[in-house]
């Protein structure tokens, strides 16, 4: 019998993700992939997987699933919250062996927003365009998880489960988060005052935040002129400013091209932190 993870409850949103689908943007297919790439890599490494193996990205919590077909190592990284195996709390950011039939539950995240659940062998869904990532914008890749969904688990990797003396835990911060920014292609479309305000203001994550983009609450950013921008391709972390002067950080499932000027780009070192921001959480910007 092949090993599988059988979903009993997906919670708010549970998706299969890996490190994405690069190389198809010119065909209108965005990169997608785990929103917190560092957490996906770490969870995979904790169970001896390759970095690019598919994980389950669980939003907020409320996720419950049963291991079938044999024992299976798993690890949870990213968001910080109760990880419960067969009714007993186990350590996050640690490889844990689930028995055949074991039930794993991820409770409401206390810090951060997105758990990365890696199983040893990886989630073995059929890849589409070389990736097992669910692209929520285009509907490409494995369907969002629903109760009863059976996720096949891949073959045991060659690497053993690494022995780690110290906990490799990096719980997302619960206070203000400072993100490093690089200049955007259209920074000169904004007034000097807007450029200064952008870095001096305190921002908050709005309720309108998903895998496509994270809209921010704060002051409005004034443009030098109101000219139309011909749509152009963006990279993950692009901070696009809409016509109302409000910024949005574009994320993994963003459209390939956008028609609003990009004032700045979140540095790669800060991008994973955006995935773990909770609505209402404070954020500030600094120059990278």
């Amino acid at each position: 019998m092949t090993r599988a993870l059988v979903v009993e409850s997906p919670g708010a949103l549970a998706l299969v993700e890996d490190l994405g689908r690069p190389g198809f943007a010119h065909l209108g297919v965005t990169g997608s992939g785990a929103l917190d790439r560092g957490a996906a890599r770490l969870a995979n490494r904790l169970v001896g997987n390759r970095d690019g193996d598919a994980i389950v990205e669980v939003l907020v919590g409320g996720f419950r699933a049963r291991f079938t077909g044999g024992d299976c190592w798993f690890a949870v990284a990213g968001a910080w919250g109760p990880v419960v195996l067969d009714g007993r709390t186990v350590a996050p950011y640690t490889a844990v062996r689930a028995p055949d039939g074991g039930v794993l539950e991820l409770g409401p995240a206390v810090r951060g927003l997105r758990y990365s659940l890696a199983v040893r062998g990886g989630i073995d869904e059929a890849p589409v365009l070389g990736s097992r990532s669910r692209d929520t914008l285009s509907g490409i890749g494995p369907e969002p998880l629903a109760p009863g969904r059976v996720l096949a688990i891949g073959a045991e990797p060659e690497a053993s489960v690494p022995l780690i003396d110290q906990e490799a835990a990096f719980a997302p911060p619960d206070g203000a988060v400072t993100l490093a920014l690089r200049p955007g292609p259209r920074a000169d479309w904004f007034t000097d005052a807007a450029g200064a305000t952008f870095f001096e203001a305190s921002w908050r994550l709005s309720e309108q935040a998903d895998r496509i983009g994270a809209r921010l609450v704060g002051p409005t950013l004034e443009r030098r002129d109101a000219g139309e921008l011909a749509s152009e391709a963006t990279v993950p972390g692009s901070v696009q400013v809409a016509g109302d002067g409000r910024p949005t950080i574009l994320l993994a499932d963003r459209p390939v091209t956008g028609g609003y000027p990009v004032i700045a780009i979140v540095a790669l070192s800060s991008l994973d932190a955006v995935a773990q921001l909770r609505p209402g959480q404070e954020l500030r910007f600094r120059h990278a």
Partner: protein
């Protein structure tokens, strides 16, 4: 011809051109020579985004390459580099008569011009497999619908602005529909998932419905 290199993070540069013709010429120059380290080459109406793996091709080297590359003033017209697609069309779109009237031609004339033009895919970006088609033989400017349709069927052949296009899947859309094709223009299971990839030459061929 001016080319501005704009910053776009740690692993990309955005090249801004004077207009679409220069974007097409630059794309034609860059695309066939797929340098190691180039991950994405994404043309748009006035820009071309080049995404690299900076460990293989550092941004400084990319910038030098982009500044120095020779671009033919007249983009290659042969289909050799990108291939040609022939799309069979039944010209019975809901907006055909009204669109022709807006352009002060008969529906037959509009169809004949659409068939006679040699098109090329300039860029994508709206949805997987959707290509914005341009042609030197096409002089019409087609206004978009006042209110977009909530559902445009897959295979709808459409016009908007200076562009022609084909909806690869059912989606909302504000382009004017002049016909339909049963060609499968997008299939993620194929090695080349999109028929209408940037650079490809396209001809439409009339079929009876």
């Amino acid at each position: 011809m001016t080319r501005r290199l704009l910053p776009s993070g740690e692993s990309a540069l955005l090249v801004e051109c004077d207009g679409l013709d220069e974007v097409l010429a630059l794309h034609d120059a860059l695309a066939p020579e797929r340098r190691p380290g180039v991950i994405e080459l994404v043309p748009a109406a006035r820009t071309l985004l080049v995404v690299v793996d900076p460990a293989v091709l550092p941004l400084e080297s990319l910038a030098t390459w982009l500044r120095r590359i020779r671009v033919d003033d007249a983009p290659a017209t042969d289909a050799a580099a990108f291939g040609e697609a022939v799309v069979p069309v039944v010209y019975d779109g809901d907006d055909l008569d009204e669109t022709a009237a807006l352009l002060h031609v008969s529906p037959e004339e509009l169809v004949a011009r659409h068939l006679a033009a040699s098109w090329r895919v300039a860029f994508g970006g709206f949805a997987p497999g959707f290509g914005y088609l341009v042609s030197d033989d096409w002089s019409f400017e087609v206004p978009r619908l006042g209110a977009p349709r909530a559902r445009v069927p897959a295979g709808a052949v459409a016009l908007a602005g200076a562009f022609a296009g084909v909806y690869p899947r059912q989606s909302p859309g504000g382009w004017r529909l002049i016909g339909r094709t049963d060609a499968v223009l997008w299939d993620a299971g194929r090695p080349e998932p999109a028929v209408l990839a940037p650079g490809r030459r396209v001809r439409f061929e009339r079929v009876r419905g």
